[in-house]
Symmetry: C2
């Protein structure tokens, strides 16, 4: 029997993992549910099959170690998360665990070891669905886990620490889950792009330059409700049209700069009715960019334009900032080695920022990070059952990661 290609193994195992869901018929696998624990056990099996030693830390992370030529060598880290959003796609996160396991399995068959160890981490929690707190797994490993979140409750009213205890994890050991910087060489995360850029440019993989910083606002517009038939246009204080004008300003301001995006994702006219001039509108603003300066300049312009629009339209605004995160840069020396690996596979090198957050963000406080994006199908749709990649791209990405690791030169 011919050996299964790495691409095929990866696709098959991704399908296998997707059987473990809280909700039959759709993939939902949140932190420390039965489905989540089953997925963890499956990942551990595959790690062991590749001769990795497997441990689980107090956060529930699954960590497989493939020793180097000498024991206790410092480790190159890789991995991603195995929790999911509700009604998720199956590649988000999971690909970044299953893929390096397949690479290691091949080296293991070849009896090949490196001057460094490789640790593959299945991060137990990234999405923040169950406890409204994100990056739990990677923060535990980076030593930045916030103990305050242990008191957060899920929808059933169970605290995170009770849920952890019931699953056999002792939150008092969370500190010991933190890696020591001196044992770590770097972190590289393989992840689906979750967007259409590589698809549209016909590139199987891309090098992430940075995880974009983000600013978010929740805005309420207060205008004056009125009868749609009896209030002349010139006398209106239409809250919805003020929101519309602001939205289009954001869209225009954030267009034309390739690394900048701005979105009005939530837009509501409470109690809206066909025959009423809206007196109130609520919307969100989400602005992201690779460069914090570019983002801050856009935010400043948007806030300024909002005030001018509000003044001209005689409406008032309540503006609440709900989120602010700086950009996290991928290390140039790792990007270079990744570019060499991609070029060495005969592929074009495409750099792009990641607009979405990833475990690598949290790991960046522990060690230098890199990310390899893999092309999505279906217009780049993600967090949705239609999320997809091809087996060919999985194979290509695995080949690129293998080449990167085989040629990996730790920073001096």
């Amino acid at each position: 029997m011919a050996r299964e290609s790495k691409g095929m193994t990866i696709m098959r195992r991704i399908d296998e993992l997707a059987f473990h869901t809280e909700t039959p018929g759709m993939l939902t696998r949140t932190y420390l549910t039965d489905a989540h624990q089953h997925a963890a056990a499956l990942l551990a099996d595959w790690m062991r099959a590749a001769s990795m030693s497997v441990r689980r830390d107090a956060a529930g992370n699954v960590i497989g170690r493939y020793e180097g030529c000498t024991p206790d060598a410092p480790a190159l880290l890789t991995g991603s998360h195995f929790d999911t959003v509700r009604n998720a796609g199956k590649y988000d996160g999971n690909l970044g665990i299953v893929l390096p396991i397949a690479c290691i399995a091949e080296w293991n068959e070849q009896g090949r070891r490196f001057p460094f160890a490789i640790e593959v981490i299945g991060f137990a929690e990234e999405e923040g669905v169950r406890f409204k707190a994100t990056l739990l797994g990677s923060r535990a490993i980076a030593g930045t886990f916030d103990p305050a979140v242990l008191d957060k409750c899920d929808e059933q009213g169970q605290t995170m620490q009770d849920v952890m205890a019931a699953a056999g994890f002792d939150f008092r050991q969370l500190g010991a889950a933190a890696f020591k910087g001196e044992n770590v060489l770097a972190f590289i995360e393989v992840h689906i792009e979750q967007g259409p850029v590589l698809l549209n440019e016909n590139r199987p993989v891309g090098i992430v330059t940075a995880i974009s910083g983000a600013s978010r606002f929740l805005v309420t517009v207060h205008g004056l409700a009125g009868h749609a038939g009896t209030v002349p246009m010139a006398l209106r204080r239409d809250a919805a049209m003020a929101a519309a004008e602001i939205g289009l300003y954001i869209e225009k301001r954030c267009s034309g700069t390739s690394e900048l995006v701005g979105t009005v994702g939530l837009l509501e006219v409470p109690n809206g009715a066909a025959n009423t001039v809206p007196g109130k509108a609520i919307f969100t603003i989400d602005i992201r960019a690779e460069s914090d300066d570019v983002r801050r300049a856009a935010v400043a312009d948007v806030l300024d334009a909002m005030q001018k629009i509000a003044q001209r339209r005689n409406v008032t605004l309540d503006i609440n900032q709900t989120h602010e995160a700086k950009s996290v840069r991928c290390a140039p020396w790792l990007q270079e080695q990744l570019a060499d690996a991609i070029a060495g596979c005969g592929l074009p090198v495409r750099y792009l920022p990641s607009g979405a957050g990833h475990d690598a963000m949290a790991i960046a406080t522990l060690t230098d990070i890199a990310m390899l994006f893999v092309r999505c199908g279906n217009n780049g749709i993600s967090h949705h059952p239609d999320e997809t990649i091809t087996a060919e791209d999985a194979e290509t990405a695995a080949t690129v990661l293998s080449r990167f690791i085989e040629n990996f030169a730790p920073r001096r």
Copy 2:
């Protein structure tokens, strides 16, 4: 004791009527509820006190007749509705019944009669709240009552005909409620403006030129949902921004023409979230104008612009027309006599269209109509407890109506 002014009587009786509500603490008086029947009885009392003969027709309308110099003379009709919306203002409709009763009471005290009878009609239903069918009272009198609505149910599941029977009204007599054209000279309705035009121009009353025609649409925009961080601006198919651009086009297209208004009253992004590019948006369009040509031209431009915007943004539109009504013109000969009455009171003459529908719309198929608008306070707010007028304006409007009727010359 000094005689109470007509303005004071009107304000006091409006307050009196407002006690009759289905909901303590707020005014809601829908068709044939106990509150509605009590209000009808009160109106009948006030009519009788002014020496009017009172009858109720099969639709529940309260009709008071003040005979002319000779019995059975053809009648000048006036009146408005005494049902209300939920959490209503107390002047909408009610003013147009209470006000002419006060005028007639004065003539009755003076022993004054005219060569024509005057009939004051309290229309039992205009707003359409209970059975989702509007203008029931005026349509019965115009002979255009649609028998199909008798089978409509209220929220308790009672059919209109059962509710009518329980209140002592026989739907089989609805045909007999229709007035004969030869017995009628004209109809004039006094009504609050329900808008801010007279208030902003400091005019106590205005002459309605026409009840605007209206076109309404419900539009669904289908774009493509995506991650707010990962889909570059140029690759987006944002349904909300398409709706925003269409909304602003409507606003701009309908501005600058004094008789034209265009409104996006409902605007929704289903399941909108800060970090998601909206894949779907739903909104309404309401376009009204005094001139049907002006309205149709605006609607055509809006539909055209929508297609262009949709094409450019690569989104698709489902456009459903939900309403289409032609403009109803107020008779020029009645407008002239109303202008004479206003000028005769030393007041400036202001013409304006009515963007809202009124009982006069239905009566227009029976006889020529006129409408006198009375200035609202509070920015012209209506259908709301803050709806208000001043006693002084009530007095002024009563004086104008009295002068109009005293000098009324039937069309030859």
